[in-house]
């Protein structure tokens, strides 16, 4: 029990952020029209590419060659996720904009 309380105490800020972000995510998405499901999925797909920050941190502090290589691969994969995700989403939405005229 003490361990759980200790864990909560040590990480209380992060736990607050998690709970509030969960609620925010639900709230932001709830009333989206079906037409936008695909672009929205693609856009949020790009946002979780934020994992690349972790890859940059790992690579930035890599000491062995193996860590450097793995980090290199991780950064490439993360960048693919970010850049590919945003560009694909933009291409989809470009279509929507054109038909508005």
């Amino acid at each position: 029990m003490t361990e759980i309380l200790q864990f909560f105490w040590d990480n209380k800020d992060l736990i607050f952020i998690i709970i509030l972000s969960v609620y925010l995510g639900i709230e932001v998405i709830s009333h989206v029209p079906a037409v936008l499901h695909t672009p929205l999925m693609s856009g949020s797909n790009a946002i979780h590419g934020v994992v690349i920050i972790g890859a940059i941190i790992v690579m930035g502090h890599a000491e062995s060659t193996l860590a450097l290589i793995l980090g290199f691969v991780a950064v490439i994969l993360g960048t693919l996720n970010v850049v590919g995700g945003f560009v694909v989403t933009d291409r989809m939405l470009e279509m929507f904009k054109k038909k508005k005229k």
Partner: protein, 477 residues
């Protein structure tokens, strides 16, 4: 890790706050048609800021980011490949592309965990801990597990969408599936209570392998038609994996970004299943697997065909025509021809509109994107409910490459697997022409009574070739 106040740390945290705000606002804007494109750019701006400020100002144990030339090289390679692939991909293959990018994110999260675990184990061993159970260890293992499942699952989803992999539906796989999940969770607990020994890393490699295999067996039995839902689900998985990284590094940008996608992705997944009148559990377990016997009585019914010239005449002398596009249209890349047909008929004074089912195609909104690509004006795309209200005064409905979304069994036959799914009521129009390659069942593998309906006539052949001939026929009238 960057708890001490320095100017750099403070600037970095402010940039993360800005990035998180941009993610939230971007997502909000993405859910409205008019602001969606701007929303995407906002989120991209937040991402760029987070990346640039991390490289410039991130400090760990008093050291800044090193290996910067290598990092920049990796960023450049990833950007180029990602940009090139996205620009070159055909609109019809978008779902596959999203699936691949999602897998890359999952793999990235898994790799981070694979590299951080040895570090953590060394630290804990040096500090004399008797077990691994700590916050960082939980974050690493969950990140590794979820990231690996997301990566492997996305690759399978990609192969299925691309038509390179069929469905394997055996009850045995379901049991294998469930036991793998149990094994994974047990392994997670075992590793937690493992005595930290420096250099003893094989358990985590085995764990990663098991998670990869689970990702494969998890997606394998799910039908190809449900892949969009699966991708959306895996998308939210990757979000959670990214958030684990945020937990590990005490990094607020990763945390908010990841959790936001995790929760928004879950809601999106539920919305998508709701549009198909299914539950998430139903999709994962796969109720579409067994074809119902309800359509068997229709086998002795006859199907009427229509000739090209009859179809041309019928269309030319109609007042109002509705086109119901489906995935077959997308596969045949016939959206431009569809628009040609539309123009031709419009010139003859026929009112042409498109009835868009919310789940037509391989993803919700897929049809809108494809038709917009072919310059079909927005006002001509009519949503299902409104189209259904107009059906009774429509002369001809042309169904091009669609099947399940016009299947009357969804309304009439309670034993049908798609019973309750809203459909476009093509049978209410005066005439129906179904353009189809063959009499094969649709993606949900259930027979369609519309084909045998007295008002319906079939126009067999590849959508593109048939449309081409039909357009030529109408021109020559």
């Amino acid at each position: 890790m960057n708890e001490i106040f320095t100017i750099q740390n403070s600037i970095l945290e402010i940039s993360y706050l800005g990035a998180s705000l941009l993610f939230i606002l971007g997502l909000k804007k993405l859910s409205h048609p008019l602001t969606a494109r701007a929303g995407n750019l906002w989120a991209a701006a937040g991402m760029t800021a987070a990346i640039v400020f991390t490289i410039l100002f991130h400090q760990m144990d008093g050291k800044g980011i090193g290996n910067i030339p290598w990092i920049l090289a990796a960023l450049a390679i990833g950007s180029f490949i990602g940009w090139y692939a996205s620009v070159k991909v055909k609109m019809t293959a978008m779902p596959q592309m999203v699936s691949i990018f999602n897998g890359m994110g999952g793999a990235c999260a898994a790799l981070i965990s694979l590299m951080e675990f040895p570090h953590l184990q060394d630290e804990l061993a040096a500090a004399g801990h008797t077990h691994m159970l700590t916050g960082p260890a939980i974050a690493i293992l969950l990140g590794l597990m979820i990231g690996s499942v997301s990566f492997a699952g996305s690759m399978i989803a990609f192969l299925k969408l691309d038509g390179r992999l069929g469905d394997i539906k055996t009850p045995a796989l379901r049991i294998v599936n469930l036991s793998f999940l149990v094994v994974l969770l047990v392994a997670l607990v075992v590793i937690m209570y493992m005595h930290p020994v420096s250099g003893n890393n094989w358990p985590i490699y085995l764990f990663a392998l098991a998670a990869l295999i689970y990702g494969v067996t998890f997606v394998m039995p799910i039908g190809g038609a449900d892949m969009p839902v699966v991708i959306s689900l895996l998308n939210s998985f990757t979000g959670v994996a990214a958030a684990m990284g945020g937990f590990l590094y005490n990094n607020q940008a990763m945390l908010t970004g990841g959790i936001l996608v995790g929760s928004a992705g879950t809601i999106l997944t539920i919305l998508m299943t709701r549009a198909m009148n299914r539950s998430l559990l139903n999709v994962i377990i796969g109720a579409f697997g067994v074809a119902s016997g309800s359509g068997s009585e229709s086998e002795d019914q006859t199907v009427k065909e229509i000739s090209l010239s009859d179809a041309a005449v019928l269309l030319s002398y109609s007042q109002k025509v509705y086109i119901v596009p489906g995935y077959g249209l997308a596969v045949a890349q016939a959206q431009h021809l569809c628009h040609d047909l539309d123009n031709l008929l419009t010139d003859k004074g026929v009112e042409v509109k498109y009835a868009i089912h919310p789940v037509a195609g391989r993803m919700p909104g897929h049809m809108n994107v494809l038709l917009a690509e072919a310059d079909v004006p927005y006002e001509k795309l009519v949503e299902m409910e409104d189209a259904n209200n107009e059906m009774s005064n429509t002369d001809v409905v042309i169904v091009i490459g669609a099947n399940d979304v016009v299947n009357p069994a969804a309304e009439e036959d309670p034993s049908s697997p798609i019973y309750g799914m809203p459909i476009i009521r093509a049978q209410d129009a005066r005439n129906v022409i179904v353009m189809k390659r063959s009499m094969a069942a649709g993606y949900a593998a259930i027979p369609n009574n519309l084909f045998y309906h007295p008002k319906n006539r079939m126009l067999f052949g590849d959508a593109k070739a048939t449309l081409q001939k039909l357009v030529a026929e109408i021109k020559s009238l």
